[in-house]
């Protein structure tokens, strides 16, 4: 493994100090390096930490904050190893550079089970890490920010501190080991004291990189592990925090858009004669959708409302040919036909499932299905582009600043280096903001209005109807049980569209072959000890534009798998908790999470009815995703009218070392509500290529009065941190479905869950 080279430089003019390191030699930086904003005339560094004479600690932040708490979590890693106060940390925008690439999140894309430590798995993982480091895609996703930067950020901070300690020790004529650092102050015996800021002023110019530095052991942590409050809370509570849609640029004009009702459609002809005459209207134009996206018409006006009104006056002829035969029913039929024809790519095989199935004492079978889902983040799609003098500036809430830059550059016909991307806070991401269609559309529009910033805002309807949807899926299970009801054979094949090839082609310009691990994740990669098993997935080619939705493959596979496991437990007349424990005899980590959840939920105890005397039941589900193991127990009741009410969800979490228990609890609360919205209401229906849903009335999300209380319990761990943004989502649908079975005897095999 190549040792990182640390480079260090001082910036004389401002007195600020940049610390960073070169991960790869310059010749391998295919995208080119851009210097950090304040390195005037100095060596261009791609660094992580900027120390200033005023004592502030700048953290170069390559990850987008979309509510998951990444700015706070990553700041904690730096504050820990620098021994500075959290209040000294400033979050600074990162330039686009490969060293900020997401390695951990993307390297997870290999089709191996987490516990597979065989030679092929290890080599493939190692290669994938190398490739992803080379590619250096800056992407906030995969629940990977902390996991990815756990060592790089801590190393950068530890080396910085050690370098300053050496300089201070020399000056104080003491051994470096006798210089203590705490809350941003260096001190030594005899009352010697100096702050970070003063040390930078005094020693910055002649600083030498420390050749020795240590990372703290977990026992010494004073910041990591504490439930610290989110850094940007005050900003967001005052209304001052700027989201993508809040970009204000002098002279900015606004664009309202209407895209073809049919997915992948476009406009062919417009009559803008009335619209052009309306007050404030500057231009009416057609724009082409980027790959897999939908084209349409834009009205640019001085004010958004004027643009929106004028848009209604434009007569548009649409080309509907691309998807006019696409429908939800057609998709479902295609998936079922695929399952009839094909057992798909085998992601996991063990033993001899055919032999074991035919000799099993009994067999059970089931078919499950899940619909397309929209992301529907509360901040609708928007992007602001100013194209001026051959350069462009973009203001956008994005999870992929480098793909966004490339998309804008391509549309505008300029080099990526001529495009500046300003990443705002995201009003929800959930995977929708991994797509560059919005940036490409805004750039197409702004290209026709050179010299002025154009803010393109999509209505909620346009957003809902032009998403990259969570793929629909159908899954068939068959289990062979022995005379004790234990699983001796497990056969599972799912069918649906594959996300990765579509995604990589349109966002990264990369054709990706090979099996798409995300199509079967949640099904093939789970720890249950089946002696004979085959899990496969058969890819179905539909024209629905699909993308990454929170949890990705886990979001539906967990519902299928955890519900069917429950069916096996029922067939075996076994307690669902005990049944799962029995399937994880050799998995102490999973057993510990199950036990914690069951204990805290009072699984073995009777469950009192609601205050109105309505019966409640519990359902349990266990799921491993993004490196973390989550078990949820849901308490559910059903009203006389058949409405499903979820009262309480107890979550047990093993996410490796818990960097911030408060942020972890927030993510459990978040994922449960997000997942419950999908479980109870979520469906996107397509007829003749047109998405039927349009706003929050026909694509409901959980409301205040429908929310269960969510409790989070964390299993202590010293393993490096794993993911937390997504893992809390997969278990909630099956936990509720399993509770409904316990309550009503009805097994629901389709999402959304409904008893009426």
């Amino acid at each position: 493994m190549k040792k990182r080279t640390f480079l260090l430089t001082a910036i004389a003019a401002t007195g600020a100090l940049i610390v960073g390191w070169g991960v790869m030699p310059a010749r391998q930086r295919l995208m080119g390096s851009s210097p950090l904003p304040l390195t005037k005339g100095d060596i261009a560094l791609n660094g992580w930490i900027k120390l200033s004479p005023d004592g502030s600690v700048g953290l170069i932040m390559p990850r987008s904050e979309m509510g998951q708490g990444t700015h706070t979590g990553l700041a904690m890693l730096v504050a820990e190893e620098l021994d500075c106060s959290m209040s000294q940390i400033r979050i600074l925008p990162a330039p686009i550079d490969k060293i900020y690439g997401n390695v951990a999140g993307l390297a997870e894309g290999v089709p191996f089970r987490p516990e597979d430590q065989g030679a092929v798995a290890r080599t493939t993982r190692w290669t994938m890490v190398k490739v992803m480091r080379e590619m250096g895609f800056m992407m906030t996703g995969g629940s990977a920010s902390i996991k990815d930067l756990w060592f790089p950020l801590r190393e950068a901070a530890a080396m910085t501190k050690a370098s300053l300690v050496n300089a201070i020790a020399l000056n104080w004529k003491v051994a470096p080991a006798n210089v203590k650092v705490s809350e941003g102050i260096f001190s030594a015996e005899g009352g010697k004291k100096i702050s970070y800021g003063d040390a930078v002023t005094k020693f910055g110019a002649q600083l030498k990189p420390a050749d020795k530095y240590e990372l703290k052991s977990a026992a010494a942590f004073t910041v990591i592990g504490k439930p610290l409050k989110r850094l940007e809370s005050g900003e967001k509570v005052s209304g001052k925090a700027a989201f993508g849609i809040d970009a204000v640029v002098p002279g900015m004009v606004y664009a309202a858009v209407k895209m073809a009702p049919q997915l992948r459609g476009k406009s062919t002809q417009i009559d803008a004669s009335s619209a052009e005459k309306m007050r404030g209207v500057k231009k009416v134009l057609q724009f082409t959708g980027s790959q897999d996206a939908t084209g349409g018409v834009a009205v640019i006006a001085e004010h958004y409302w004027l643009a929106k009104k004028a848009l209604e006056a434009v007569k548009i002829t649409w080309d509907v040919s691309e998807t006019n035969s696409l429908s939800t029913a057609q998709g479902m039929n295609a998936m079922k036909a695929a399952l009839d024809a094909d057992t798909g790519f085998g992601f996991y095989k063990a033993g001899d499932v055919d032999a074991a199935m035919s000799s099993a004492a009994s067999r059970i079978k089931a078919e499950y299905a899940a619909p397309n889902l929209a992301h529907a983040p509360l901040e609708p799609m928007n992007c602001t582009v100013e194209f001026k003098d051959g350069k462009a500036t973009v203001w956008v809430a994005t999870q992929v600043p480098d793909f966004a830059r490339n998309a804008a550059a391509k549309v505008l016909g300029i080099e990526p280096e001529a495009v500046t991307i300003n990443v705002a806070y995201l009003g929800g991401g959930f995977g929708r903001r991994l797509e560059i269609d919005v940036i490409a559309a805004a750039a197409s529009i702004a290209k026709q209005m050179p010299g002025q910033a154009v803010q393109m805002i999509w209505s909620r309807e346009e957003d809902m109807k032009h998403d990259f949807y969570r793929p629909a899926a159908v899954s068939r299970f068959e289990a062979g049980l022995d005379s004790k009801g234990e699983v001796v054979a497990w056969r599972n094949v799912s069918a649906g569209q594959n996300i990765v090839p579509q995604y990589m082609a349109r966002n990264a310009g990369l054709p990706m072959g090979g099996p798409d691990k995300t199509s079967s994740e949640g099904a093939f990669d789970q720890a249950y000890e089946f002696p004979n098993v085959r899990v496969g997935h058969t890819a179905v080619d539909l024209s629905t534009p699909i993308g990454f939705w929170r949890g990705v493959g886990h979001s539906h596979q967990a519902f299928f798998k955890e519900s069917f496991i429950d069916e096996c437990a029922v067939a075996a007349k076994s307690d669902p908790y005990e049944y799962r424990m029995n399937l994880l005899k050799n998995h102490p980590r999973h057993r510990a999470v199950l036990e914690l959840a069951a204990t805290k939920a009072g699984w073995a105890l009777p469950l009192a009815p609601t205050t109105d005397g309505i019966k409640k039941a519990r359902g349990i589900a266990l799921h491993e995703s993004f490196g973390s193991i989550i078990v949820q127990v849901a308490e559910v009741s059903v009203t006389k009218e058949g409405s499903i009410k979820v009262h309480r969800v107890v979550c047990a979490v093993d996410c490796g070392l818990a960097v911030n228990p408060n942020l972890i609890a927030q993510q459990m609360e978040s994922a449960v509500v997000f997942g419950l919205s999908a479980a109870l209401y979520g469906r996107i229906d397509i007829e003749k290529g047109v998405v039927q849903q349009s706003n929050y009335h026909d694509y409901p999300i959980l409301r205040f009065n429908e929310t269960p209380t969510v409790e989070t319990h964390i299993v202590p761990s010293s393993l490096p941190p794993e993911g937390i943004g997504e893992p809390g989502l997969p278990p909630i649908a099956p936990a509720v479905g399993n509770a409904l079975f316990a309550l009503t005897g009805k097994r629901l095999r389709n999402l959304p869950l409904t008893l009426v």
Partner: protein, 154 residues
């Protein structure tokens, strides 16, 4: 045509059409971006402002409908109730992405101004119009109770 409106205690003059929703008068004409656009149909509450202290969805409240009423936005919220609510929001660590939160805060402040000790059911009624995709609801509830307690202590 010039229209005078009272916003956060000051008179502003705007040239927007009379049928322009206040949401866009604020965000676009006045560049006050604290009030958020979420749905355009009064389904999500992100656009919540106060008109004479009562909560209103600015995406469906036109400029002409405002008339002489005093408009308060998240930028201008002040007074002991507002301060108690903001402090509780930070203490409980309510926010995640934060986009819906100006609307949540405006709705919560209006609730507490009207009823200093709301029950859970009253909180449900007052807050159910505010959607949160990040699922901060249970912390919003805790924060409203916390603000209520600190207002009572005064």
């Amino acid at each position: 045509m010039d229209t005078k409106i009272s916003i956060n205690g000051a008179i502003k003059i705007v040239q927007a059409d009379a049928d322009t929703p206040m949401l866009w008068v604020l965000r676009d004409d006045l560049k006050m971006t604290g009030t958020k656009f979420g749905c355009g149909m009064a389904l999500c509450g992100a656009c919540t402002i106060h008109l004479d202290g009562a909560p209103a969805r600015s995406c469906v409240t036109t400029l002409s409908a405002v008339g002489d009423k005093a408009v308060t936005t998240i930028e201008g919220g002040s007074g002991p109730i507002f301060e108690a609510v903001k402090k509780a929001w930070v203490d409980v660590d309510v926010v995640q992405c934060g986009y819906c939160q100006p609307g949540q805060l405006m709705a919560a402040t209006a609730l507490l101004a009207n009823n200093k000790t709301p029950t859970d059911q009253q909180i449900d009624q007052a807050m159910s119009g505010n959607l949160c995709r990040c699922g901060t609801y249970q912390r919003v509830r805790l924060a409203i109770h916390a603000a209520s307690k600190s207002i009572a202590i005064g």
